[in-house]
């Protein structure tokens, strides 16, 4: 038995260290498990891809709101494009005002033109343009999880 170290490490000291170490490990484990448990792995939310029916529903030079999908389909001279109807300020549902020719948010007064560009109010970004495509059955599909650049149009 070497007894060079004069500091005495008692049995109690080592057990306290062991106990606190175990508690720390258990605490970290509980934090990780807690975080994982609180994050749902399966969501029963609607698919981001919505079917809007035949593209000829949208006549030239028109803005059509689809309140179920939460999008606007605009038929411009260059072709079709889709805008999200969710305000970029705090997530309220905007409305197309045909008499004014603008998209308006009821919550805090943001206004957008038919290109989605903000013309008034607190919204920090333009309404995002969403990816649209034609399905094999000839239906117009909008992918609400994919944002595209404002120069993309769908020609029908």
């Amino acid at each position: 038995m070497e007894q060079e170290d004069t500091r005495e490490v008692t049995r109690r000291d080592s057990f306290i260290k062991l106990g606190l170490g175990s508690l720390a490990v258990a605490g970290c484990g509980a934090a990780v498990f807690g975080y994982e448990f609180l994050s749902p792995n399966v969501l029963y939310e609607p698919s981001p891809i919505a079917n809007l029916g035949k593209p000829d529903r949208f006549p030239p030079d028109s803005v059509t709101a689809d309140p179920v999908a939460g999008v606007y389909i605009i038929h411009a001279a260059e072709g079709l494009y889709a805008l999200s109807a969710t305000c970029t300020h705090l997530g309220c549902f905007t409305a197309w005002k045909p008499e004014l020719g603008i998209i308006a948010c009821p919550c805090h007064g943001s206004k957008f033109n038919r290109l989605g560009v903000k013309i008034d109010g607190p919204a920090p970004r333009p309404l995002p343009r969403l990816k649209i495509s034609i399905s094999d059955e000839g239906d117009l599909l909008v992918d609400r999880s994919t944002v595209v650049t404002p120069d993309q149009f769908l020609r029908t």
Partner: protein
């Protein structure tokens, strides 16, 4: 007659069962009064003795006590409302309407709960203003002010989580807006919103999570901090009173 009742009362207080529950026993000396407070788990949060002037209306306007009263009303009416409320989509809205139009006394309980909630938020602010302008937050009461701020936050979260439960348009959009404000927190804002709602949109998971927070987690947290808050009043030397005013 009163003599007889007093006699029975004293006999009752002398019985073995009574003495096993309340140790202080019969008698009305100062010691008995002090023991009755000190040995009771609820009363011992308060001081054994109080200054008469600290109990006067002018000292506190009873704002803290009134806040506690609204908390008790909210707990009582809330438990009763839970008996008719299912936190599921779209049943929650129908249950809320049933409480208004079908359940006996339902509309009374729901309105009492709602108005008391509004009153509680108002009273918490009024209480804090009173404490602030009276200087009652100063040492040695500075830590109790911190506990009070925690209670303010719990109160606001209780109010916010309860807002979603009727599952009407007002509730849905208020929580949509509120949770989007939450997501403006740098770095982990989106994550906090996702955990809070249990998804990307205000949906069935969000309703259930807000229900559990509103009915279990936050009231328990409030009860614990209320207990600490009251106990600290005693520990910090009783209610703050103006030194300048003459003692009654």
């Amino acid at each position: 007659m009163t003599k007889a009742i007093e006699g029975y009362w004293n006999d009752l207080r002398g019985t073995k069962v009574w003495r096993s529950v309340f140790r202080s026993g019969a008698g009305s000396s100062n010691l008995h009064h002090a023991l009755a407070v000190q040995q009771n788990v609820f009363l011992h949060l308060a001081s054994v003795k109080m200054r008469r002037r600290s109990l006067a209306f002018g000292a506190t306007w009873y704002l803290g006590t009134l806040t506690l009263a609204t908390f008790f009303i909210l707990t009582g009416t809330g438990i009763l409302l839970m008996l008719y409320y299912h936190p599921s989509v779209p049943q929650a809205y129908a249950d809320m309407k049933d409480l208004q139009f079908v359940v006996s006394a339902g509309v009374f309980l729901r309105n009492l709960h709602r108005w008391s909630a509004q009153a509680m938020v108002f009273l918490v602010f009024a209480h804090m203003f009173k404490v602030f302008y009276r200087g009652a937050y100063r040492p040695p009461r500075e830590f109790n002010w911190v506990i009070g701020v925690v209670l303010l936050i719990i109160t606001l979260f209780l109010s916010y989580t309860g807002y979603l439960l009727p599952w009407d348009q007002l509730a849905f959009w208020a929580i949509t807006v509120g949770s989007n404000i939450m997501s403006a927190v740098p770095l982990f804002g989106q994550k906090v919103r996702f955990l809070m709602l249990g998804g990307n949109t205000v949906n069935a998971n969000a309703l259930l999570r807000f229900y559990v927070l509103h009915c279990v987690v936050l009231p328990l947290a409030a009860a614990v901090f209320i207990a600490i808050h009251f106990w600290r009043i005693r520990k910090d030397g009783g209610l703050h009173t103006e030194k300048a005013t003459t003692d009654e």
